[in-house]
């Protein structure tokens, strides 16, 4: 049953999760529990017990996401809020209300308020105020309902609870059950040393945490406000010039935010809201993290200019939001004391940004050396914003100054066996070779899959450096060894020598 709207929440309903090759119940509602179903049961067994059972797939990630959001909401009670991590991931929220309860009257009143608000959200919740995280976790899940307990009442309340209330792994819980330790009280009563040696430190650690003998701090989830500035206009903007002004204002505000956080923008997203509810989005990227408002505004303005023909302004835009979806840590930059222009100065990367955003980054490239003997593989072009260019180029005297994107077949008119051609025809023009050097043999890279399957570079190449009688220089090769790899080797033009 996948349609959520068709679910009857009053009838037996379960969520299932696939574990170890079988589907088991991960949650069931009150009606289902009333039918005798329990968590961990096989779906087939559950269906046998309750024929009309509704089954939905559990989505732990979405649950965790929702709980994190709820945790963010719960910061209205205390800043120290964290999603609670149980045995199977995030399954609740911890609030450290130390020093905050009096703001709501008392602990009791805070709890009541919290539960009331959650109920208004249609969220069924149980909560417990105790001295430790462990006790709260246990009592909220296995106790007699939401309550506030003092230190002495805690130990008493915990004693009758099953040991699974201690957030134990399945393996440890099972082991303890086998030796008859079913309740927390039982566990607290036995000698510690044998317990530790038999079941490891986990059981004792969890027990101590629940009883307040071991510390367990709350690690609050830190909420970082998104880098976003918003501007609503008194009158809708219909002119590009006015929009550029608005962009400049937004970028100036953003610069302050970025500098405060020590981040440099790597990507910008400007959303323009039209009066009738339509939105337009402009996105640009930068080569290096930058905070420079003028530069950011210029990038966006250029993008706006490019899109202006596609942009339907209609009755105008009345609001704009600037987001920074991606940032880099801002490296400390050295103030230039001399008047020298340094390579990689801010302006070069701002030029790169503008070219990259206008043409697409695939058209603004650095080249990088690659360890390969196959000439076309020895160089890789990569978008310039990926990183600074590599400096370890090895000089190879015999390499051409330019390489054709694909080697072009040439027609050899007068061939010398094992030597360079005397004359050849390339792009319908005949060339007479007057000088030649070679061959330089480049064998296929047999360790590559393509080489084995007759792909690129699957055959041996013999490269010749040739010069025609007019002084034009070419890098040509013969593909395939005579007799072994090919009966009639083919010739190709691959590049132009310096």
């Amino acid at each position: 049953m996948s349609n959520f709207n068709a679910v009857d929440f009053d009838a037996p309903l379960t969520l299932v999760i696939s574990t170890q090759g079988s589907f088991r119940l991960s949650a069931c509602n009150k009606a289902a529990a009333g039918e005798g179903l329990s968590i961990g049961q096989l779906v087939t067994d559950a269906r046998a017990l309750c024929p009309g059972l509704q089954v939905l797939e559990a989505t732990p990630e979405a649950d965790a996401r929702a709980l994190r959001q709820l945790a963010a909401w719960a910061t209205r009670y205390t800043p120290w809020v964290a999603p609670a991590t149980g045995v199977n991931g995030i399954d609740g929220i911890f609030l450290d209300i130390t020093g905050c309860a009096h703001l709501f009257g008392s602990e009791k009143e805070l709890l009541t308020d919290l539960l009331r608000r959650l109920k208004e959200f249609d969220i069924a919740a149980r909560a417990c105020v105790t001295g430790t995280l462990g006790a709260s976790w246990a009592l909220a899940r296995y106790g007699k309902g939401s309550s506030v307990l003092n230190r002495d009442a805690e130990a008493q309340a915990l004693a009758p609870l099953p040991i699974s209330a201690l957030r134990l792994s399945d393996q440890t819980a099972e082991g303890l059950l086998q030796v008859g330790l079913k309740r927390i009280g039982d566990l607290a009563a036995v000698a510690r040393a044998p317990l530790a040696s038999r079941f490891g430190p986990e059981a004792l650690m969890r027990l101590d945490q629940a009883l307040g003998k071991a510390s367990e701090p709350v690690m609050p989830q830190i909420l970082e406000a998104p880098l976003r500035v918003r501007n609503a206009f008194v009158d809708p903007l219909v002119q590009t010039d006015a929009m550029v002004l608005a962009i400049e204002k937004l970028c100036a505000e953003m610069e302050v935010l970025l500098l405060e956080r020590g981040r440099g923008a790597r990507a910008l997203k400007l959303t323009l809201f039209r009066v009738d509810g339509e939105t337009a989005t402009l996105e640009v990227g930068t080569a290096r993290g930058t905070t420079d408002a003028a530069h950011l505004a210029r990038l966006l303005a250029e993008r706006l200019d490019q899109l202006s023909s596609d942009l339907d302004i209609g009755f105008g835009y009345d609001a704009a939001i600037l987001d920074i979806p991606r940032t880099d840590a801002l490296a400390a930059s050295q103030v230039d004391l001399s008047a020298d222009q340094k390579p990689f100065s801010g302006d070069l990367s701002s030029f790169m940004d503008r070219a990259g955003n206008r043409f697409g980054w695939a058209r603004v490239q650095h080249v990088y050396p690659v360890q390969s003997h196959i000439p076309e593989r020895a160089v890789m072009a990569q978008a310039a914003h990926v990183g600074p260019p590599s400096l370890d180029w090895a000089e190879e005297a015999s390499r051409p100054a330019a390489l054709l994107p694909c080697a072009e077949p040439i027609e050899v008119l007068a061939e010398v066996p094992e030597g360079p051609p005397k004359t050849f025809r390339w792009r319908k023009v005949a060339y007479r070779v007057s000088r030649a050097e070679g061959p330089e043999r480049i064998a296929p890279e047999w360790w590559r899959a393509e080489s084995a399957s007759n792909g690129v570079g699957a055959r041996t190449r013999d490269y010749f450096r040739v010069e025609d009688d007019g002084g034009r220089r070419f890098w040509i090769y013969r593909e395939g060894l005579y007799g072994r790899e090919a009966t009639t080797p083919r010739w190709y033009m691959h590049g132009f020598l310096d």
């Binding site: 020298d340 222009q341 340094k342 390579p343 990689f344 100065s345 801010g346 302006d347 070069l348 701002s350 030029f351 790169m352 503008r354 070219a355 206008r358 043409f359 058209r363 603004v364 490239q365 650095h366 080249v367 050396p369 000439p375 020895a378 160089v379 072009a381 310039a384 260019p389 590599s390 400096l391 180029w393 090895a394 000089e395 190879e396 005297a397 390499r399 051409p400 100054a401 330019a402 390489l403 054709l404 994107p405 023009v429 007057s434 000088r435 030649a436 050097e437 450096r465 040739v466 010069e467 009688d469 007019g470 002084g471 034009r472 220089r473 590049g495 132009f496 020598l497 310096d498």
Partner: protein
């Protein structure tokens, strides 16, 4: 080949020079610049000698003016690689000289891609298909460090013009190489580029198609064709040092001339290839070697 020596200016040239001097005086008075060539050679401008004095003597300012536009085009479509090769050597020459004067030799070579700044090489998409991509290991041979080159491949010539102008104005750019085949680069466009270069200071080297011989704002225009190289010492049939025939067909404030040039890898500059090109000298040398 004929190297035009320092000829005395003809009567016509003299008259022209007088007129331009008068104009220059006027422009000095009014504070406006009347674009004449010889004015381009103001003392503040950095001019970079190409190497042989025979060549530099013909150039306005005794070399390639750094903050200006220069054009290179092949004599024949088949000479395009030769022209590109000349262009990259020219760029290497400009970069090394500019770098040397800017840092007086103390700049750490490692860690900074090129002493004189970044090279921006603009090769539009259509040329990429036709003449391929400048090849990293080979560029080193041409005196350009591939780590210091930013390649840009615009889709159209209009985009190329935009990016050439922007590149010239960007800080940290040592030299801009732009290749434009089509007719998009007219007098107005070349003027814009030249003015940008003049204002900011990065030299702009433009490669154009062989038939783009129309008017231009460029300070110099070189028409390049390949020439057979002299055989290297070690082999009769091997490839010697690449040789160009460079026709200086436009030189505002200079003299038109034609040279045979080679690249001198040791001095990192151009050198004249003429003496060896004469058919008579090579056999003589051979005879001398044999003796």
């Amino acid at each position: 080949m004929s190297v035009s020596a320092h000829k005395p200016p003809t009567a016509k040239e003299k008259r022209h020079n007088r007129i331009y001097r008068a104009r220059a005086a006027l422009s000095g008075l009014s504070g406006a610049v009347l674009g004449h060539p010889s004015q381009a050679v103001t003392p503040g401008r950095q001019s970079i000698p190409l190497g042989p004095p025979e060549v530099d003597g013909n150039l306005p300012g005794g070399g390639i003016i750094a903050n200006a536009l220069h054009e290179v085009l092949p004599n024949d479509p088949r000479d395009t690689p030769a022209a590109t090769s000349f262009l990259s050597h020219l760029a290497a020459r400009l970069l090394s000289e500019r770098g040397a004067s800017a840092h007086t030799g103390t700049a750490a070579q490692r860690g900074c891609p090129q002493r004189g700044g970044m090279t921006v090489w603009i090769r539009p998409q259509n040329l990429l298909r036709e003449w391929g991509m400048p090849y990293g290991p080979g560029l080193l041979g041409a005196g350009l460090n591939p780590a210091g080159v930013l390649f840009i491949h615009p889709r159209t010539d209009q985009d190329a013009l935009w990016v050439i102008e922007e590149a010239i104005q960007a800080k940290g750019v040592g030299v801009v190489i732009g290749e434009i085949e089509g007719r998009a680069l007219d007098l107005t466009a070349s003027r814009r580029i030249h003015l940008a270069a003049e204002k900011v200071g990065a030299p702009a080297l433009l490669a154009r198609a062989h038939n783009c011989l129309g008017s231009t704002a460029a300070l110099t225009r070189w028409q390049i064709s390949a020439r057979p190289s002299a055989p290297p010492n070690y082999s009769e049939s091997g490839l010697g040092i690449r040789r160009w025939k460079a026709d200086l067909t436009r030189a505002r404030g200079g003299r038109l001339a034609s040279f045979e040039l080679e690249w001198d890898h040791e001095a990192h500059c151009f050198s004249l290839a003429t003496p060896l090109a004469h058919g008579q000298i090579a056999p003589l040398l051979k005879a001398a070697n044999a003796a």
